[in-house]
Structures are given as C-alpha cells and as structure tokens.
C-alpha cells in the first residue's frame, strides 16, 4: 500500500511528473478513517532559488541570495581554518583566536564599543573557529545594513586582539576546563572521541590549563594572519537586498583587503587504528550510566554513505528503530538511545551508539546494543524496515529545502568541502536505490564488532553485572584534570591568612621555622636517574647553596663533568667543551631552583616579596615579585610537603609543567628532609633523585662555590 504513495519525488529536480494529481478527499464519513486509506496529493514542486556567485578581484568568493520575506540581512564569511591546526603545545589557540577576533575589537574600536554599537541597533557580529571551519557572521535589520557591514568588515579584516580580552577568553576557557567533568554524557562523548581518534592527534587531544596558559597575543596574530585572507574566504549573504547593489557594496567595502598568503594545506589525516576496548570512568554522584559504543566511521563522499545512513537509521534512528524498540520500549532500560553513522565531509567521522540507563542495567544494556550490532550484520533487514527507513528519509527531504537559509548554507558547505552542487540530489537518488542486500553488505563491511570502543561513565559499584562481563579487560579512565602549573591564585585576605597558617603547619612538621631559618649553607649529593623514557641516563650530582643566592652544581655525566655557578644574577658554566657564561634560559632555571630551594621555600612567609596563598585546604601557591611561582601540596595527615608543582623554563620552546614528589623524609640537623624525589615533566615520569648525603651549615664561603674547575 505504501508503495502507491508518491514518496520518492519531493524535489523539483526529481521525477514527479508522472504522479496522479490530488485525489479528491472522500466525503466526510461518520467513523474515523484509517490512516492507510488517506490519499495524498502530489507535493508541489519546490523552487530552489538560484544563488548568485562571484569571485572578487582579491580572490574573495561571494554568494548572494535575496530573501524578501522579512526586513533582515545576514551573512557569514567562511574561512578555511580550524582547531585542527592548533600547535600541540597550544591546544586552544584557534578557539581563543576566534573568540577574541570579535571581543578584542578592531583597529578603531574596542570590543566593548562594538558591543554597545551593535546592541543599540539589535544587530550582531560574531566570530568563531571550530574544528575545521572559521567564521565571522552578522545579522541586522535591513535599515542598519551599511553600519553593520562596516563592523563586519573590520572584524574580519582588521581585528586588534586587545590583551584584556585575550585574558578574559583564557579565563573563560580555564573555567570551562574545570567544568568538563560535571556532565556524564559530555564525558562519555568526549572520551569516546579522544580514544577513537587517538589522544595525541589533533582530532583527539584536548585543551588543558597548560596549553591555554601558553597562548599569547603573538600566537593569535600569527594564527589570524596565516588563515584570514581573501582567497581563503567565502562570503555568503542572504536577506532583503538587491543582488546587484549588494555585490557593488561588498566589492567596494572589501577592495582594501588585499593580503595574500600561501594556500592553506589540507587538514591532518585521521589515523586508522583500532582503539578496541572497554573503558570505565567512575562518577559517584549519578544514578545512571552514560555510554557510547562505536568506532571510526566514514566520509559523506563514500560510495556506501547512503546505504550506511539507511542501516544506521534501522539500527537506531527513530521510534521504529531496532535499538529504540529493544532497549527503550521492550526493556524500559533507557530514555535516550540512538545510533548515528556520523560521517564527516573531509575525514572519517564516528560511528556511535549513545544512550543512558540506570546503573543496575548498565552491562545488560551495552550487551543488548552489541547484540543489535551483531544482528544487523548477520541477516538482511525486513522489507518493511527498509521501506520505513527510506520513506522516513525521502519524505522528510523537503525540509532540507524549506528555507533559503538552508539552501545557502548547504551550497556553502558543499563548496567549502569540494562537493558537487547537486550532491543532495545524487544522494537522494542513491538512497532510493538502496536494497536489503546493500544494507547487509555495508553493515558487514563497515561495522566491526571486534573494533568496538565502549565507554561507560557511571557508578560501577551499582552496575549489578560488572562491565568485565562484556568479555574484555576494563580499562579505567583517569579524568583528573592536570593542574595549571603557574596560575596565580587570588590573593584575597582569607586565602593569605589560610596560606600562612598552612605553611606554618609545614614548618612545624619539618622541625620548626627557627631551625629552617638557621640554615646558612647546604651541600647535597644526589644520585640522579633519568627515566627510561627520557634516556635512562645516570648522573651523580652535587648541589651547593650558600645564602643568599650562591648556587653551584657539579654533575658527573657519562660524557664528562659539567659545573655551573651563579650568584643569582649571572654565572658561568663549564663543560668538557669549555667555559662560558650562563645562558638566559639556564639562568632562569637556576633562579627558579633558588626560589624553590627546600629550606627557603618552606620559609616563604618570612621572605620579603614573597606571597603565600592557600588555593585549597592542602595546596599553597607561593610567588615572588620576579614572577616565580610554584605550588606546594601538603600531606593532610603529616603536614609534610608532598609535592611541588611549577613551570620550568626549557632550553628551547615553551615552558613545561613539572612536578616534584617528595618521599623518604630523614632528619638532618633536626630537620625532616626528603631523600627521594620523583620528577614528572609534562605529565610524564622524568627522573628519580636519591639523596646520598646532606650536609648543613658547614661554613662555606662564596669563594668555595665560585672556584672554576
């Protein structure tokens, strides 16, 4: 019966001439008719409006579409860039650039001035950079078009990136990082994507405090200059205007935008590696588990894309899908459950089945999902399932064309990713031709049960059946957010008082402030072992300190001895290759070490210029006027220092987050001093230090330290 309906011909372009015209509805009947008896007239053809397309002399491509229904004009400049181009140590750069392009104002006006100007006329200009697109858009009442276009032009071509708004954007991003583990659905989706794409790839890495902190104005300017140029930009405008006039306006307005840059390279490729496994993230404040099951998907341009869409719809599309029927309707296990083939335009997307269920039915529900994946691979779907899926897609296709905004948006997307203009018509034809055999074939070829990544976020104690029942070892996800290495804590009176209190507790625990203050010089002999991952080298090192700021280090390396000395302001370094002055980076390193010298660091509340604040019940932040800063984490039971975190200056490149963990406290001159220190750099184990000998107050003189070998 359904085959008789004119379901395949919603588009003007499609073949709909042969259909029967509107059947006259039957005269009103007393009883309710069946929906099966309804006869529908042919859908009237859709007029797809032509989009006027131009390329301006500067290379800017312009797309104009008149829309006179309402007195509005809106537009979008699409720029080929994205956060896929973020440097690995500054993840977040594209995002900050996109935010501050608008908020940081233009050459002539601050962002705050733009806010007032635009809001006074109920208009908007906004910028943003996503994964693989950058955009600046505007919307205005027709009467203010000129004024708003002027602001739009300035934001696109002459953003100023004022520092105050860079700071604001970074603050906002850091606050968002702090909140990223609050929603279990968000966690599940994020972890799934990061695992499947790989955490070390641009598709799978994430913004961290450290990567945000490194972003500077110069980076924003560089990123902007590289990608925002006319030949790399498509501008689409829609609304209540005449095409000829708007074209002339834009040509004139953007005539001054003439910057050139080399062609932007392709986005990085996705690495096709299996990330199979069962992953669990514990969250103890929930009664429900959020889960995602899936693996790498495909591209919109794949030959099998239409059949895969049909397959995914039958598996978990709407109310009539297999997963919805099984997991929600039959089992009553879930409110939300859905499958998505999730192809992307220019790189493999994610095949995902997502849902949530009460903790106790977690494993059962995931097993039901796995069974449905197996089932769709093991036999053809029924004719009625196929028909429902195809009808659903084809009959709703008209909504792809119901507004001019969608028509223009689609054209822009196709052009941006290099798809043919009539891609949707081709897709529609291919969809109509999908057979049951096709669905089975693509399910077998593209769904791979052995490669499934399963991520569950919830409270494992309540799972009833443990996740291990899924038959694979369960890997635990650590959601701990790496601490910001040098974020300054707010120095309000409360945290200052608390900071002093906590530091005094530490002083008590190690032997008392008086004993600490009595330390005049230190000699420390250390067995320094680099971790295997860092080369595994062994070094015997002697560190000598004499107040106030004399510091010497002698290291016995496999390739010879290195000695260095500094008085805190300058110094020398002696290597087997010769002697020279300390470089700027090395000097900074020494100054940092002096700032964190155990006996001085713990006395920071008595050293002028140093600020001690409590950032939490067990963590202090200590900083000085020279810009040094480090955090001290205190063991809540013993009051002893547990670890110190800070940013170290690198010989080259950006600072790195370092963490020194203290253990094996032994008494030296009545003071508890750690004899084992583990160093982590950038979240990785770097070295183990064992103190072989500690000598305090041996009466050293500056000359003893200054003496060159």
């Amino acid at each position: 019966m359904r085959a008789a309906l004119p379901v395949l011909c919603l588009l003007a372009a499609a073949v709909l001439a042969a259909q029967t015209p509107a059947a006259k509805p039957p005269a009103a009947r007393p009883a309710a008719p069946s929906y099966k008896d309804l006869k529908y007239p042919t859908l009237r053809p859709i007029q797809i409006p032509p989009v006027a397309t131009f390329t301006l002399p500067n290379g800017l491509r312009l797309y104009l579409l008149e829309d006179h229904e309402l007195p509005l004009v809106s537009g979008t400049a699409l720029v080929r860039t994205g956060n896929l181009f973020d440097p690995a140590d500054k993840v977040g750069l594209a995002t900050v650039t996109g935010m501050v392009m608008r908020t940081g104002g233009t050459r002539t006006k601050t962002g705050d001035q733009l806010d007032v100007e635009l809001e006074n006329i109920a208009a908007s200009v906004e910028a943003g950079i996503g994964e693989s697109t950058g955009s600046v858009s505007f919307s205005t009442l027709k009467e203010n078009t000129d004024e708003v276009l002027g602001v739009f032009h300035d934001v696109l071509t002459a953003p100023e990136f004022r520092q105050d708004k860079i700071d604001l954007a970074k603050t906002q991003l850091r606050s968002s990082i702090a909140r990223r583990n609050d929603d279990e659905h968000g966690i599940a989706q994020r972890e799934f994507a990061n695992i499947v794409y790989g955490r070390s790839t641009p598709y799978g890495w994430q913004i961290e405090y450290a990567t945000v902190n490194r972003i500077q104005r110069e980076d924003l300017l560089g990123f902007y200059r590289r990608y925002f140029f006319p030949a790399n930009t498509m501008l689409a405008i829609r609304g209540d205007f005449s095409t000829a006039q708007m074209k002339a306006r834009i040509e004139k307005l953007f005539a001054d935008w003439t910057v050139e840059q080399p062609k932007v390279p392709a986005f990085p490729a996705v690495q096709r590696e299996s990330a199979a496994g069962v992953y669990l993230a514990s969250k103890n404040d929930v009664t429900q588990t959020a889960f995602v099951v899936g693996h790498l998907g495909g591209m919109v341009s794949d030959r099998d894309f239409p059949a895969l869409e049909v397959m995914a719809d039958i598996l978990g599309g709407g109310f009539s899908s297999r997963l919805f029927r099984k997991v929600r309707t039959q089992l009553g296990y879930a409110y939300s459950i859905s499958a998505d083939w999730g192809a992307d335009f220019d790189h493999p997307g994610l095949f995902r089945i997502s849902g949530s269920t009460k903790s106790a039915s977690t494993t059962d529900t995931i097993q039901a999902v796995q069974q449905e994946i197996e089932r769709i691979r093991s036999g053809e779907v029924s004719e009625s399932e196929l028909q429902i899926a195809k009808d659903t897609a084809l009959n709703s296709m008209v909504f792809e064309f119901d507004t001019k905004a969608k028509t223009l948006g689609r054209l822009l997307t196709y052009e941006y990713f290099g798809y043919p203009k009539d891609f949707i018509q081709r897709y529609q034809k291919a969809l109509a031709a999908v057979s049951r055999a096709d669905v089975l074939r693509v399910a077998r070829e593209h769904l791979s049960p052995k490669d499934l990544t399963i991520v569950a976020v919830g409270k494992p104690e309540d799972f009833g059946k443990p996740l291990s029942a899924l038959g694979a070892p369960v890997k635990t996800l650590d959601l701990t957010i790496p601490e910001p290495p040098s974020e300054k804590a707010a120095a309000d009176p409360g945290s200052l008082a608390k900071g002093k209190q906590l530091l005094q507790r530490v002083q008590e625990a190690v032997g008392g402030a008086a004993k600490l203050a009595a330390v005049r010089d230190v000699v420390e002999v250390i067995d320094f072992r680099l971790d295997q991952s860092a080369g595994g080298m062994k070094v015997k090192q002697t560190d000598v300190w004499l107040e106030p700021n004399h510091f010497r280090q002698d290291s016995e390396m496999p390739f010879g001895k290195i000695s260095a000395y500094s008085d805190g302001q300058s110094g020398w370094v002696h290597t087997p290759q010769g002697t020279g002055p300390l470089g700027a980076a090395q000097l900074k390193q020494v100054q940092g070490d002096l700032f964190r010298l155990y006996f001085r660091f713990l006395l920071s509340d008595q050293i002028p210029g140093r600020t001690v604040t409590a950032v939490s019940d067990d963590t202090l932040e200590i900083s000085d006027r020279e810009g040094h800063s480090a955090r001290l984490v205190v063991n809540s039971q013993t009051g002893l220092p547990e670890k110190v975190t800070y940013e170290s200056v690198q010989m080259a490149g950006t600072p790195m987050a370092v963490e020194d963990r203290y253990a094996d406290f032994q008494e030296v001159n009545g003071l508890k001093v750690p004899h084992k220190i583990t160093i982590e750099r950038g979240g990785r184990k770097f070295a183990d230090l064992t103190v072989m000998e500690y000598k305090l107050n041996t009466g050293l003189k500056p000359e003893d330290l200054k003496k060159q070998p």
Binding site: S34, R179, Q288, T480
Partner: protein, 499 residues
C-alpha cells in the same frame, strides 16, 4: 504628561502596529462547537506545514501523590489508539483489563501496609508481569510515531511544562490530513498500552534530568525551598516514589479532566489553505465531546516570611541560583520584568555580563530569567551563575547583591532602555521566520492571554516601560525577604582528585 517621551516612542509603536496589521492578513482563527480552537497561519514559502497542540494543563495540575502524571500522560500520547498500534484490539483490550485487575489485587494487598503478606505480593507481582507480557504481545510497538516519521514528519516531540503540555511536529504539506487524523485519534481513542514499561522509561528520564545532573538537583532543591504550598515546588518530572506507583487509571483521570477541547489550542503554520484546514478540523475533531473546563488551581503560595537558603552537595563545579518572588505573567508589571531581565543579562552590554563576566572575571556565565519555573502563577525572577575558576559562589552572590543595589539606586539610562526596546522589537521580527516557532508562540499566547495578538501587543507594552517603572519594580522585587538562594557545593573532600 510627558509629551517628549510620547514623541520619542511614536516610531516604534507605529512600526509594531504595522507589523501586526501585515501579519493579521495571514492569520485565520476558528473555534469548533466543542470549544477546540484553531489558529492557522499561511506561509507558502515552501511546501511544509508545522503543527502545534497546546494543552493548557501541566505538571502543576498533578494530583498530590501522583506527581509526574501530566508528564506520564504525554509519553502515553505516543502509544497509539484503538486502531493504531494493535494487532487485535478486542483481545488487547481484554488483556489490558486483566493487567489492571491483577494490579488492583496487588495494590489491595500492598495497601494493607505492615500487615501485607509478602508471599502474596510476590505471587501477584509474578502474575502482573505475565499479564503485562501478554498484553504486550498484541502491540505493534511505536506505530503511531512511526507513521509520522515515514511520512516525512520532522521535529516530532512533546514537552510537559509546569503550565502546559505541548505536542508538535512538521509534515510535507501534501500530508496535512494525516496530522488531522492522527492528532484527533490521539485524543478521541487513546490507548495507554505499555504503560508500566513506559513508566520505567520516565524513571530513566528522571535519573537523566535530575538525579544524574548537577543542574537538575539544584533546580529540584531550589524550587522545593522557594515554594511551600504552590505546586511550582515540584519539578515536572515528579518524585520517583510517585512515578513508580502511577497507574493507568491515574492517567485516564488526568486526561478526562484536563484534555478538554476548550482547554486545547491548535496551531497550523505553513503551506496550508485555511478553508481546507477548517474543513478537516470539522471532519476530524468535531467528534471530540464538549466537556466542562477543568477546575482552577486554588492553592496560593503564602507570602514569604524571610530569606531562604538550601545547599546541594555535588562534586561538580559550583553553580549558584538566586530567586526573588514576583507576580504572575498577567500582572501589569510583567513587561517591566522582561525589560529588567534584558537589562541585567541580555547580551554583552548587560549589567551582569559586563560586571561579573567581563570586568571582574568572577563568573563563567551569569544570566537571569524573568519567569521561573512557569508564568501562570506567581513565580520567581531568577539568577543563574557559574563562578569562574578560582572564584567562589559566595563571592558571586555578594557581587550580585551589590549589583542589584546599584540597579535599585540609580535609574537606568535612556540609552540602555531604548537598546532593550529595540532588541525586543527585532527579536519578534526574527521569530516570525520559523513555522514551528510561530505555531508554538501563537498557541501559547492564545491559551495564556485569550488572544494571539498579545504576541505583538506585548511589544507595545514593553515600549511603554519607563526608567521609573524599572526602578520601582526592582526595588519592590529584589529584597531579602523574597529571596531564595541555592547552590551546589563540594562536601569536605578527602584528598584532591577531580571527581
């Protein structure tokens, strides 16, 4: 009295009136003999139509002990009818009656309380499970929504609010009759099949929206603290213990009482001929019997005696919610509250954004809402704030109060005020471009105010708001004795760790 101001405001007023006049030409309204009201708007840009059913009853109408029933009914409205979704209606009808009969026996036993026989309960529970399975064997699952989907329906969903329940979707415009048929059958011959399975689904929804969501937990505590008597104190999802005991008969009672034709408004917007809509409305909906209007809700929230506060422990990052009691949306000052909310948190020029987010950087987000959780009854003007990293809820709460004091003490500038008015007017124009949006707005305005034109005339009400009005209302509303504060906080933590 103030001739200058009148001149200043003449222009926007005229524009508003013109908008309305222009728009009115596209609107057709009619009411069936049973009281069911239709609003039809012609927009022939594309061959699509959006439908919106607005039932003027919501979770505030949940009977005590049956919280969640309005929401449960909304779920049942997708379960089909006597002719849609069954393999054999007479058999299924019998099986459904058997389920209820066993359930009644089970409840009889349970109602003995302490004297109930656990063995008997166990037996009856097993029997009930079997009866449910038998009834389910007659079901063609999800056929009702499936018909909509396979006919190209998009945006199909429903929502249960405290004030109203809404059902909506869009179809290609050659299938208009399908909506008339399905929507009328939905209310003429509903069948509450798979009720007890769906109850589990509704419980899952509660876990998702409330128990497992820091915001949900915050809202639940905030409302229960702010309201002592009025049903606004319970979220629409209801209480879990009530949900677990909802019965089919409860849904029927709710349906019979509140799903009365005169209590329902239907909006149809898009490629539709009004005459055709009228003909189909008569054909399909006339059979709905005229029934008396549901009783009004009589419970009135007693006046608040002093500031209130509640804490929600949560390991997540803190969120702060502050609310002040305000009158219902029919109050003459309603547009003043709209203006205040826009002044305080609409856009980057707003007071809260500029102060708390941009300049002091103590908040990640800081927003206000002029009506919460519903508008038909006296409710709350709310503030919703997420402190920035390193800043506390206490700090943000203090800053909010300081900001409100400044707002009460100094009159807002004419520039700020006229900015808000311009934005409100432009906002309306932007809303006119969407079929589903219009269908939703027009039915809501008709149901709430008795005339959809209020959508346009409310703009004129906003135009009339003065700086004096803003100050007067702010001074009477933002006072400690009308305040409720709730925030999430971390209980004393053991040692470090994000979660």
């Amino acid at each position: 009295m103030r001739p200058l101001r009148c001149v200043l405001f003449l222009l926007p007023l005229v524009l508003g009136a013109q908008d309305l006049k222009e728009f009115e030409k596209k609107v057709t309204e009619f009411t069936l003999a049973n009281g069911l009201h239709f609003i039809v708007v012609e927009r022939h840009e594309a061959p699509v139509v959006s439908f919106h059913t607005y039932v003027n009853a919501g979770s505030v109408d949940d009977p005590s002990g049956e919280t969640g029933i309005a929401h449960m009914f909304e779920h049942m409205a997708f379960k089909g009818t006597e002719s849609i979704g069954t393999r054999n209606w007479p058999e299924e009808k019998k099986a459904l009656a058997d389920v209820e009969q066993v359930y009644n026996r089970l409840d009889d036993e349970r109602n003995k309380g302490k004297r109930a026989d656990p063995q008997k309960i166990k037996v009856l529970e097993t029997e009930l499970k079997a009866a449910i399975e038998k009834a389910n064997s007659h079901v063609v699952p999800n056929l009702f929504p499936q018909i909509i989907e396979e006919n190209g329906g998009v945006g199909m969903n429903a929502s249960t609010g405290l004030d109203a329940t809404e059902y909506f979707y869009s179809l290609p415009s050659n299938r208009i009759e399908l909506w008339f048929l399905l929507e009328s059958q939905r209310f003429l011959h509903p069948v509450f099949r798979e009720f007890y399975k769906e109850r589990d689904v509704v419980m899952e929804e509660y876990r998702m929206r409330v128990e497992s969501s820091p915001r949900g937990k915050l809202f639940q505590s905030f409302l229960a603290t702010a309201f002592e008597a009025h049903p606004y104190r319970v979220m629409g999802t209801g209480w879990p213990s009530d949900i677990r005991n909802l019965r089919v008969e409860d849904a029927w009672e709710f349906f019979r009482k509140y799903y009365v034709p005169a209590n329902i408004t239907m909006g149809i917007v898009g490629d539709v001929q009004p005459s055709e809509a009228k003909r189909l409305a008569d054909k399909y909906f006339s059979a709905l019997p005229r029934r008396p209007m549901p009783p009004l809700l009589h419970t009135v929230e007693p006046s608040q005696a002093g500031p209130k506060r509640s804490d929600v422990y949560s390991p997540s990052q803190p969120i702060l919610m502050v609310g002040y009691k305000r009158p219902d949306e029919y109050d003459k000052d309603d547009p003043v509250f709209d203006v205040i909310s826009e002044l305080l948190s609409g856009g980057r020029t707003s007071r809260m954004y500029a102060d708390m987010v941009r300049d002091k950087r103590m908040a990640l987000f800081a927003s206000s809402g002029d009506t919460f959780p519903g508008g038909k009854y006296p409710n709350l003007f709310v503030f919703f704030i997420g402190p920035a990293l390193g800043h506390t809820v206490e700090e943000n709460e203090k800053e909010l109060y300081a900001l409100l004091e400044r707002f009460k003490n100094e009159k807002v500038s004419e520039e700020e005020l006229s900015r808000v008015k311009t934005k409100t007017r432009a906002g309306l124009i932007r809303r006119l471009a969407s079929n589903p949006g219009l269908a939703s707005l027009l039915t809501a305005y008709y149901a709430d105010y008795g005339d959809w034109r209020k959508l346009f005339t409310s703009i004129q009400d906003v135009e009339k708001v003065t700086a004096g009005d803003v100050q007067r209302v702010a001074r009477s509303c933002f006072v400690p004795e009308q305040r409720t504060v709730t925030y999430t906080s971390q209980p004393a933590k053991p040692a470090g760790g994000a979660q």
